[in-house]
């Protein structure tokens, strides 16, 4: 892996900083985040390494890593960080950036889960658990996954087969559209501003 320092890479650091509403510069790489991370055993790069790569502006390494999609969002790193850097918010910012710039996630299953989950909410306003599991099994091409649990859950009355559509579902659709537009606009504006800043500095 080539780790050449380029001014252009700083633009990436800057944009993720702004998306996370925090500054990665505060991080002194103590590793306390990784020490408490429940997913550390499975990640290809550790959370403190994510912070280091962010400082270096290594866009490709970060967006191709499996780690950013393996973060479970438990906030352990953020609550233990001695510098209040909030590493979890940076992982979220990386995922948001990857989504907005339409990059393929290295963990397809997580990406598909997010997509289906949000589409159900977009149309119904609430989650429809049976539909979610059913659709996921089709997407994952494992139609009978978890089917062994179903009989007991049906007996316990835990499975609600009828989806509930809320009255304000049109409002929810509007919220989705507005938020998607806002996010795109916001990223574009941030990029332009950073570009301008760089031209005046260098």
């Amino acid at each position: 892996m080539e780790l050449l320092f380029e001014t252009a890479k700083l633009k990436f650091t800057r944009i993720i900083n702004q998306l996370a509403e925090n500054s990665v510069e505060k991080c002194y790489l103590c590793g306390k985040c990784t020490a408490g991370c429940p997913m550390a055993y499975e990640m290809d790069i550790q959370i403190h390494q994510i912070m280091r790569f962010l400082k270096l502006g290594e866009e490709k390494v970060l967006l191709k890593s499996r780690a950013i999609w393996q973060c479970v969002g438990c906030q352990t790193c953020s609550s233990r960080c001695p510098k209040e850097v909030d590493p979890a918010s940076f992982v979220d910012a990386l995922r948001v950036y990857a989504t907005l710039t339409k990059q393929k996630a290295s963990e397809r299953a997580v990406e598909q889960f997010n997509y289906i989950f949000l589409e159900i909410i977009r149309h119904l306003g609430r989650i429809y658990e049976v539909g979610l599991v059913g659709l996921l099994n089709i997407f994952y091409m494992q139609p009978f996954r978890d089917i062994a649990l179903a009989p007991k859950m049906v007996i316990g009355g835990k499975l609600n087969f009828i989806p509930h559509k809320i009255k304000g579902s049109k409002e929810i659709k509007r919220i989705f559209l507005a938020c998607e537009e806002l996010a795109q606009k916001d990223l574009k504006a941030k990029k332009e501003l950073i570009e301008k800043e760089f031209q005046t500095t260098f």
């Binding site: 479970v72 906030q75 306003g125 609430r126 938020c179």
Partner: protein
């Protein structure tokens, strides 16, 4: 005490016994819950992984509805609690309130108080009421209090309890006459958001939790989150199969344990809906 009640999607499906038990128990100890009309999903984990605006706007719709009711918001789900707290945390900022106005077309004053149901149960006034009404103390139960992640973290957002040394559940178990077990994994993550998208990872995390609780001498769990429950209870069978173990630790919602102590029969608290049979432990 009156609250704007936000159940969250799970309580209408896989966690229906949680709602069943909390409605019974709350009525008994004078907590009045008025369900927010036509509430929507808070967006859970997928929303904040994909779009920050969405992660704030979705819970904000419910927050505004609760504010209009003039009541504090209370939710029994730790994940919803976290998303609602995050949204109201951001909405203290004028900039985010303006963004919200443009998305929802509705104003939010920014003063809504939001709590997890467990916080209400450890208020002194409620503790007193529970104490007066206990009919069957929970003797024989060795409880591993499991907080999970989102109830406690990050502390500046959740402001629930000490994130590394919480005592809310322990207080409640002591009050109900149960025995609290000292163990290590009380605030470790169960991998709830990966239950469907990365089940191997989730099973590893759940396995560690089950192993430590068993080794510490617990004979049941107490939880305050439908996602913790579905992972520890529903997935216990799969974990047993995968790791060739014989865990049999029933998982109770705190409202169910309060209900048992108040003398409700197990059926009325939805205890037969659990996949890990709790009756063996209760008969001891």
């Amino acid at each position: 005490m009156k609250f704007a009640y936000y159940p969250g999607c799970s309580l209408k499906g896989t966690a229906l016994e949680y709602e069943k038990s909390l409605i019974k128990v709350c009525k008994d100890i004078d907590i009045e819950l008025l369900e927010i009309e036509d509430w929507n999903c808070c967006g859970a984990t997928p929303a904040h992984q994909v779009n920050k605006y969405l992660a704030i706007a979705l819970p904000a719709r419910n927050i505004i509805k609760a504010e209009k009711m003039g009541l504090s918001l209370v939710t029994p789900c730790a994940a919803c609690f976290s998303r609602i707290r995050f949204a109201s945390h951001y909405l203290k900022d004028n900039r985010w309130r303006e963004i919200l106005l443009s998305v929802l077309g509705e104003e939010y004053a920014g003063n809504l108080e939001s709590k997890h149901l467990l916080q209400i149960f450890i208020e002194e006034q409620i503790q007193q009421k529970i104490k007066e009404k206990i009919l069957k103390p929970l003797s024989g139960l060795k409880v591993a209090c499991y907080y999970g992640c989102l109830l406690l973290r990050p502390p500046e957002v959740a402001s629930f309890d000490d994130p590394e040394h919480p005592t809310a559940m322990e207080t409640l178990v002591h009050l109900l006459g149960g025995e609290v077990v000292e163990w290590n994994f009380y605030n470790e993550c169960c991998g709830a958001s990966f239950a469907l998208s990365n089940p191997q990872a989730m099973e590893n995390l759940v396995y560690k939790i089950l192993l430590d609780a068993t080794f510490s001498g617990a004979n049941c769990f107490m939880v305050a989150c439908p996602l913790c429950h579905s992972n520890l209870d529903t997935r216990q069978v799969q974990v047993n199969k995968h790791f060739k173990k014989h865990f049999s630790l029933p998982v109770f919602y705190f409202t169910q344990l309060v209900g048992l102590a108040l003398g409700y029969p197990p059926k009325e608290l939805g205890l037969y809906s659990h996949l890990t049979n709790p009756m063996g432990v209760l008969e001891r």
